[in-house]
Symmetry: C2
Subunit: 442 residues, 2 copies
């Protein structure tokens, strides 16, 4: 018999079916044994009656998380037993046969128990099995697929950027060191240099992959390994072209999520934001003036926004423009990387932006310097040695168009979309200062 | 004026257009200056006549790889000047204006020069700008996209697997060490453990990303960082289900390449293989018997195939079944990792396979042990400590279905599809024993 997925049972009332899945809950009422069976598509209540002797004996032995193949008949539940609004709440499987294909040891806690976060992380192979986790990571999969889908349709070419890089790493202080055949290599903090080089080949490129930050932070915002969604595009008129691309990209992602993941958002109690046709935008100095006026804190001399400032500005954007998104542009050049393009109309400030979403920065982007001599000057201006960047610099030595791009943090976007308190909840196997799977010994 | 891409010029004969791109070649005939302009979509010959004074002055200054924006009129070439079979071979742009948006220094060699491989690698930001490289990496982008597309359609869920792993790494000897906040971490050799864990959540998963091998090989077959296309699926009947999935997956990839990249294959002089409805399959012992009989070498006691053996078997498969692909199954358990499932019908041998393609192994796959106690026994049997694998082992402690999967090397597949001699030619920025971008100092 061919397997039926649990979500399709409603089409099979009265029929005999074969189900495969995990025992979610088992309730032994002596003669009647009830089992909630779970597969990737959903759950259903099954009942094992004593007259099916073999199945009943099997059902007496099985325990939560055992993996079984079950045959049975799909019955409509009596009206008073119907659970409205629940998948298969009106159905029940009357079991005729059970084959155990995988056993489980006793669980350390109930799978849906309200755990402290360290216990949750200590047991991800079990704790990720909840409907909640499935919804979170199905949404994440749809985001990354929508990102690629939109850019492919816009004639961007996907590239595979290396993560293992040499001494010419961007900002050495926060990079992890690797022993590399008697040399020291590093883990890339972003695909920045490679995506820029590839603008020289394909004009518009994107890449999705892991990036690494050796930051000694253990916060709800930081990860030491995360997934960066990166794009870079040539022949731009200004960094506003990058903002415009991100605006349309986000609209596409939200549209795709509405089409494919609305059940997951509903189950999580979250709503998919509307992306304005034109996301509001403020210069950093304008944002700081608003913070002073509306929230009473003077941060005008700071070169960046603190987390609380980001939350305030998002609150303001929501109230003023009904937008969950806001671009903050024109950070001081001094706080941006050496490849940052200066806005000719606003000297001393970067032709670039952060995108804030629901209280947190999810993107940094902007125009890059494309003239070789200017880039060498900028590298020296940061106190760095151009010789260290000789490989990257070739792209500019050999002709580059005006270009720019952005990086979008997949886990932060996922977390904020859903309303998760901790970005680690939006990361399958989060790495931080204290943990790689298990807690690191002190 | 809106930009016209060079491939679309044929629709604009007689019109004035704006082109953007790189100067590929410039031929100064004094009065007439000819420039081949290149953008992401193709090339066209342009002519600058002396009566357009400003454009002519600009054209006198520009050099190869300068980036320009050009206005001009699209003219049909006189019949005797038509180059048949070449994009825009029947057209020419009569230039009316040139704006330089990026300059270039003098090139170290002509971009299309026949370089030795080290010189090629030393200058990738320039040498990747050839039509040949563009075709190679467009094909690679289509492969990875087709891989994901097929699996999403088959209800696989995409996951993001960590690359930064702890001491419980698979096979420590070949893994790179990372300094991780006072601890030693490793770079993952595959997403094996995580994709297996995720079968417990989503049943069928895939992931695409970088993997790392600290092998001291510098050959045309090896890379120290490469892209692995991985899938893992639960509730299989046997490892033949994995073979069957790969068979259909490859058929989809080749179909997609035929639809989207046939021009690139043509330009490279390569042909897209036909994937048989059922790829031929041999047990290792059968393959060894064929090698002995057909090629005169007795390798019957070896636990694996040497590169020459792989080439012979592929030659045999092509001759006998007209197939570019062949599965080799049932390697001795002793040579396979600890999680390998033993074929109950063939004790001592793995329920798994390699896929050979045009002379080289591009996939290893198979069924995995899903019973906790059996897996602990197998780990001990390899002389390893189960305690080191405690995180991974949780998945099995808490119930797993029969499952298996495979990993497909993106660069090897790309190289063999196109017929490249060296897998590094199918890698944008290859890392090996001697090189991370630049040659490593001795």
């Amino acid at each position: 018999m061919e397997r039926t997925y649990i979500k399709d049972l409603k089409k099979k009332v009265g029929a005999e079916v074969l189900l495969k899945g995990w025992v979610d809950i088992r309730r032994d009422h002596g003669k009647l044994i009830f089992i909630d069976l779970r597969d990737v598509s959903g759950q259903v209540q099954m009942v094992v009656l004593p007259n099916h002797t073999e199945a009943h004996t099997a059902a007496e032995a099985i325990r939560p998380e055992w993996v079984v193949e079950v045959t049975g008949t799909v019955n409509q539940r009596p009206e008073k037993m119907v659970k409205a609004g629940v998948l298969n709440g009106d159905l029940e499987l009357e079991v005729t046969g059970i084959t155990v294909v995988g056993t489980a040891k006793e669980l350390p806690f109930e799978k849906e128990a309200d755990l402290n976060f360290d216990t949750y992380l200590d047991h991800l192979p079990l704790t990720l099995r909840t409907e909640r986790s499935k919804s979170i990571f199905r949404i994440q999969a749809s985001i990354i697929q929508a990102f690629r889908e939109y850019l492919v349709a816009q004639n961007f070419t996907e590239i595979q950027a290396p993560k293992l890089i040499g001494d010419d790493a961007e900002g050495g202080a926060n990079s992890f060191n690797i022993e590399y055949f008697g040399h020291t290599a590093h883990l890339a903090q972003s695909p920045q240099f490679y995506k820029q080089i590839m603008v020289g080949i394909f004009e518009k490129v994107f890449t999705t992959g892991n990036v690494y930050r050796a930051e000694k932070h253990s916060t709800t915002r930081h990860l030491n390994e995360y997934t960066s969604l990166d794009l870079e595009m040539g022949f731009i008129d200004s960094f506003r072209d990058i903002c415009s691309t991100e605006n349309k990209l986000l609209a596409h992602i939200m549209k795709k999520l509405s089409e494919t993941r609305s059940e997951d958002f509903k189950a999580l109690g979250s709503t998919i934001p509307t992306v304005p046709d034109s996301i509001p935008t403020l210069k950093l100095r304008e944002a700081q003036a608003i913070i002073k006026k509306e929230f009473g804190e003077d941060c005008s001399n700071e070169p960046d926004l603190e987390p609380q400032h980001e939350r305030w500005i998002c609150e303001y954007a929501k109230k003023t423009w009904d937008s969950d998104f806001i671009f903050i542009t024109h950070f001081p050049l001094s706080k941006r990387p050496m490849y940052t393009y200066e806005d000719p109309a606003d000297p001393g400030y970067a032709a670039g932006f952060d995108l804030l979403f629901r209280g947190i920065e999810i993107t940094t982007g902007g125009q890059r310097i494309h003239d070789y001599d200017n880039l060498v000057t900028a590298i020296k201006g940061k106190g760095l040695e151009p010789e260290k960047f000789s490989y990257y610099l070739q792209a500019f030595k050999f002709g580059m168009p005006p270009h720019g791009g952005l990086g979008l943090g997949l886990e932060r976007l996922t977390a904020k979309l859903i309303g998760l308190d901790n970005v680690k909840e939006a990361t399958l196997f989060p790495r931080d200062l204290n943990r790689i799977d298990n807690l690191l010994s002190k």
